[in-house]
């Protein structure tokens, strides 16, 4: 096991179950699906007059999508205060990769209609074949991108 999970496996499984409970609570209580990429489209309706951002589905969901995002921040803050390190989290990934990767991932997720949560958890959880294929596709290109970076010596 330890060569598959060098950091241990319990926190991965426990965290995954927590994520699932959040997705399940949202659905049971409100019927909503917890895909996280849509908030980056729906929130543009607050500042843009373009028709594409002002479709009924974005106007109707923009408030709760921001509430869900607020919850994500609060939940991670709770973890940080109780179980996390004393100092704020940080990453060794440089800003240019965070920004450029964000632009490409944001464009792609919205074109695909979902990301790791929207297709990976909610879509497969809905037994949608297109979502399963979407996940296999982004894992494949994610492997290629990350392996290529490692191969050319860009770390981490």
């Amino acid at each position: 096991m330890s060569h598959l999970f060098p950091l241990g496996w319990q926190h991965y499984l426990a965290g995954g179950l927590c994520i699932g409970l959040g997705v399940a609570l949202l659905y049971l209580a409100t019927g909503r699906l917890a895909g996280m990429s849509s908030v980056f489209t729906s929130s543009w309706s607050y500042v843009s007059m373009r028709a594409v951002f002002r479709q009924p589905r974005w106007l109707a969901s923009r408030a709760w999508r921001l509430q869900l995002a607020l919850g994500l921040v609060l939940g991670a803050a709770l973890w940080w205060l109780t179980l996390g390190p004393a100092e704020p989290m940080s990453t060794g990934v440089p800003a240019w990769r965070l920004l450029l990767g964000g632009v490409i991932a944001g464009f792609g997720a919205r074109l695909a209609g979902g990301c790791t949560s929207g297709h990976g958890i909610c879509g497969i959880g809905s037994l949608k074949l297109p979502s399963l294929l979407a996940v296999l596709t982004f894992m494949a290109t994610g492997f290629v991108a990350a392996q290529w970076l490692a191969a050319v010596g860009v770390a981490p």
Binding site: A29, A34, Q67, G75, V93, A95, G102, G120, T137, V144
Partner: protein, 150 residues
């Protein structure tokens, strides 16, 4: 009355998000290094995270509509709209490239802020820019064709 319902829905949505965010942080998914070590085959933890989340989600999504006609706080059980179209696959291929480049996807980018990682603002700015570009390009290609003469 509807105001009280909306308040309860908002509280439930924030609480659900908090569980989600706590899970993302506990599982290390808010650390780009952990995502990258999965994508470089050094740590398979992400599969456990996905598996654990999926097990609960499958259970809830399949049983809730059989158990109740409507969600506890009203509204309807929404249906997932994934479809077999070109954009799903081109978009997912691009998403993976961005994910592999940054080690961050939308949920962890947002949750990471809660754990004090302000570098995630770079990702959030990128995600918002990418989503804007996608919306604008989609509206251009979907614009009605110029009426033809004759």
């Amino acid at each position: 009355m509807s105001g009280a319902r909306e308040t309860r829905q908002a509280l439930a949505t924030v609480a659900a998000g908090a569980l989600f965010g706590f899970g993302l942080a506990l599982s290390g998914m808010i650390r780009p290094e952990v995502i990258l070590s999965f994508l470089q085959f050094r740590d398979w933890g992400l599969m456990l995270v996905m598996g654990g989340a999926l097990a609960v989600t499958l259970f809830a999504y399949q049983l809730a509509p059989r158990w109740r006609r409507a969600p506890l706080l009203g509204g309807i059980f929404e249906a997932h709209t994934a479809s077999m179209q070109r954009g799903t696959f081109i978009g997912s291929a691009l998403f993976g490239v961005g994910w592999g480049l940054s080690g961050v996807c939308p949920g962890p980018a947002i949750a990471g802020l809660g754990a004090g990682n302000l570098q995630m603002l770079w990702v959030i700015a990128g995600l918002a820019t990418g989503a804007w570009l996608q919306g604008v390009l989609a509206s251009l290609s979907a614009a009605p064709a110029v009426p033809q003469e004759g």
